[in-house]
Amino acid sequence: MAAKKMFGAVDASVLVTDLRRSFDDGVTRGYEWRVTQLKQLLIICDNHEPEIVAALRDDLGKPELESSVYEVSLLRNSIKLALKQLKNWMAPEKAKTSLTTFPASAEIVSEPLGVVLVISAWNYPFLLSIDPVIGAISAGNAVVLKPSELAPASSALLAKLMEQYLDSSAVRVVEGAVTETTALLEQKWDKIFYTGSSKIGRVIMAAAAKHLTPVVLELGGKSPVVVDSDTDLKVTVRRIIVGKWGCNNGQACVSPDYILTTKEYAPKVIDAMKKELETFYGKNPMESKDMSRIVNSTHFDRLSKLLDEKEVSDKIVYGGEKDRENLKIAPTILLDVPLDSLIMSEEIFGPLLPILTLNNLEECFDVIRSRPKPLAAYLFTHNKKLKERFATTVSAGGIVVNDIAVHLALHTLPFGGVGESGMGAYHGKFSFDAFSHKKAVLYRSLFGDSAVRYPPYSRGKLRLLKALVDSNIFDIFKVLLGLS
């Protein structure tokens, strides 16, 4: 194993220069190169799943099923889609021309941005590293990936596998923490793709501003779940549970953060949740192997503090057990914590689920609107009008009705935030577009020049111009024939 050396400003500069040379030489532009790289990524998924699962278990205590499904399978699908669609994606798109630009033809050509930086997160270290890289490579860019140091086994495995399988003249991994990230951010990139917190998102965008580098920021927020009494409670509760504790134990950007329901319905919801939680995780959830652990002691202490706050600790109605040594916190449900408590002021990112009760379900709109826009907002109901109203009036990255998080797997829907939860989107063709510049191309003929365009200006020219602008054939003819 190579010794790790400090990666500083000079290294970052050399790295970018190298990659830029590769890009300028045209290494990454061809269809064949892109396909080869994507196929190599597929081989990584096919041949190294056990190592990936093991690294995720080390870093996060992630159950095999979650690793296999939410990281490897999703990636495999993403790669296969790109392989299947790449020719289509790369093809120019015809655009319509108008009378004012006649005769002409126009198209929009997708071209790579150049050398791009992907900064990934610790909670889904393989998915959130490779999925954006798939987009970057499909679009023909050279790419540097910086995985999160908070998932060290995954970071090391990513570095090793990518060096082994991909073209290192154009695809590199830089491991490290703040020092390395800062060094990277000082360089000029053609795009930066960041997954992480809103706080660091600001830092990334400010660094990007120095070079006018466009960014995609996949951030987070408190994703609310509104539960209507007109729903199938068992299914609702099962989906919330697996969407929360079954997805990295609540440590996911689209995790159900808190529930909103009526005072009347809440007890039923709590009872149903308790029952299903026991079915899924047994009487002793701390022993269950089907949940990730808390990633590290910093986050454990953070979550602990949320639970221990006065006026919050007495609102626990289920769970609450903590085990610092093993970094475990039991699935915990709280009822009616104060709106200004810490647990209701920051993204929880853990196995705690507050339930807030309302007199009337209508009030959920004000509660949600009074907070920063989340990455996802969920609603469980049969009521068509409520679904319509929710979809149109709640602003969030994405809205899911009657399920949790599953929209992540859909390559036909753009995945991204708005406001505090982020900017830009990806998945499927949106990934390709995120890493492309859409260049407008206009082909004009040298014939057919209109004196109208040029000085000296006159009233007649003005009249013709006006007619052209209105695209009014009759007026144009009238003017040309001198009848106007």
């Binding site: 126009a106 990255g397 260049k439 206009l442 004009r444 006159s458």
Partner: protein, 484 residues
């Protein structure tokens, strides 16, 4: 400034309140507002032309062609297309998710800020305004203090035509902009220089505000004499129009410099000279068809560019300057040094460097040494050269055999890349520019699969793996117990 701070805060508060009321969501309201912009321009043609003449010496035909006509057309297109643009886009979901439905709806960001520029003060204010309103936002427009008459017109007249609680205008310079940028906006749209673009983006980063930056660069014009000699007259006219015919070269998409093979340079110059005369007569200063330079400072800047002795030596036509009258003569340079200032910053004035190369193919190399411009123009019928230009250079757009006219094609996105900008607009792209594309997924509460839920076991793992691979037949076998 205290008064200004309060005005800004009060305006923001009112616009946010208006947005929250839902009034701007109605397509009827949006069309009415855009219709009012149309009426405002039509009713006040003379006033607007007069303001533009006072600010920039723009002839009314130029004013109509480049500003009023653009706005009228933009408004018409928006009103006629809005229903179509606002329709949700339905997405196909994989069979696995049946009977779930997916769609993407465009929702307004909220309260947006448009910072306009002085060179096309009417169209660069109203065109983005139309986009912001079409998308359903409330908008604050800050017009440029360097075009005071146009700015005053907008500040006075917009409130008379539009919904003042939703659409506001503020006049002022950098100090007003600074105050505005301290606040949180849901989107910022800026037209101006890359230097200020960086400041805008850095300020936006503090609030995670998405930005569209329409900046500039040196738009090169390649003249491949070999293949277009038959139409050289048209070519020369178009280049001259693209340099001197629109705001005296002070446009982000003006022809900045020409690249031509050495042996043809003098004949090009010999044709440009009489073309200039045909446009502006013997004394362009008195022609009334050549716009003024914006301010004395801008004249001084252009003067400084010309004062470099090596640049002075390269003047083959023009060169005279009248600071009092804000006049710079249409000037042609032959081979100013590539390291001179004039060849390293956007000229933004009526000076045309002609750079000669031995072989026209070399022009691509020269273009690549400079930051990516907003547009590249190439007069050529050589398909190979066209392909090389498209694939080896990068720019906001490429136009073959014409200049500037890509602006009129609203099926083409208008925007930059790298130093020339982030984001794009015109036509539907304006609507998209000011919209958040929100993904909506609706699942079904019926059809619940046990395999989705813990406790995990091999069966469930296999099931989900197969489901993700969309291997439906194998899935069925599994469920029938015929597959292990």
């Amino acid at each position: 400034m205290e008064g200004m701070k309060e005005t800004v805060e009060e305006s923001l508060r009112e616009m946010r309140e208006t947005f929250a009321s839902g009034r701007t969501r109605s397509l009827k309201w949006r069309k009415a507002q855009i219709g009012a912009i149309y009426e405002m321009v039509k009713d006040n043609e003379d006033k607007i032309c007069s303001a533009l003449f006072q600010d920039l010496g723009k002839h009314s035909t130029e004013a109509f062609r480049d500003e009023l006509g653009v706005v009228l057309r933009s408004a018409t297109v928006a009103i006629n297309s809005l229903d179509k643009w606002a329709v949700p886009k339905h997405s196909n979901l994989p069979l696995l998710f049946y009977p779930a439905k997916g769609k993407v709806i465009s929702e307004p960001y909220g309260t947006v800020l448009v910072l306009s520029s002085w060179n096309f003060p009417i169209s660069l204010s109203l065109d983005p305004l139309i986009g912001a309103i079409a998308a359903g936002n409330t908008v604050l427009l800050k017009s440029s203090e360097l075009s005071p008459n146009a700015s005053a017109f907008l500040a006075k007249t917009i409130p008379a035509y539009l919904d003042t609680k939703a659409i506001k205008v503020i006049e002022g310079g950098p100090d007003v902009a600074t105050i505005l940028l301290q606040h949180q906006w849901d989107k910022i749209f800026f037209t101006g220089s890359p230097k200020i673009g960086r400041i805008i983006m850095a300020a936006a980063a503090q609030h995670l505000t998405p930005v569209t930056l329409e900046l500039g660069g040196k738009c090169p014009t390649i003249v491949d004499h070999h293949t277009i000699s038959k139409n050289i007259k048209s070519v020369v006219k178009r280049i001259a129009g693209g340099k001197w015919g629109s705001c005296s070269g002070q446009a982000c998409i003006s022809v900045d410099y020409v690249l031509i093979e050495k042996s043809y340079a003098s004949s090009l110059i010999d044709m440009l000279k009489p073309t200039i005369k045909s446009f502006f007569g013997e004394n362009p200063k008195e022609s009334g068809c050549l716009s003024k330079i914006a301010t004395k400072q801008h004249v001084q800047r252009l003067s400084r560019l010309l004062n470099d002795p090596r640049v002075q030596a390269s003047i083959v036509h023009g060169g005279s300057i009248d600071e009092e009258k804000l006049y710079v003569e249409p000037t042609i340079l032959l081979d100013p040094p590539l390291d001179s200032e004039i060849m390293n910053e956007e000229i933004f004035g009526p000076i045309l460097p002609i750079i000669t190369v031995r072989d026209i193919q070399e022009s691509i190399g020269i273009i690549k040494t400079k930051p990516k411009p907003l547009a590249i123009y190439a007069f050529t019928n050589d398909e190979n050269l066209k392909t090389r230009i498209l694939s080896e250079t990068s720019s906001g757009s490429v136009t073959f055999n014409d200049v500037m006219i890509q602006y009129m094609c609203d099926a083409l996105p208008f925007g930059g890349v790298g130093e020339s900008g982030i984001g794009r607009y015109h036509g539907k792209y304006s609507f998209d520019c000011f919209s958040h594309e929100k993904a909506i997924m609706e699942g079904s509460l019926g059809m619940d699969l046990d395999a989705r839920y813990p406790p995990w076991n091999n069966f469930k793992l296999t099931f989900i793996r197969l489901a993700f691979r969309e291997a439906y037949f194998k899935l069925i076998l599994l469920m029938l117990g015929l597959k292990r």
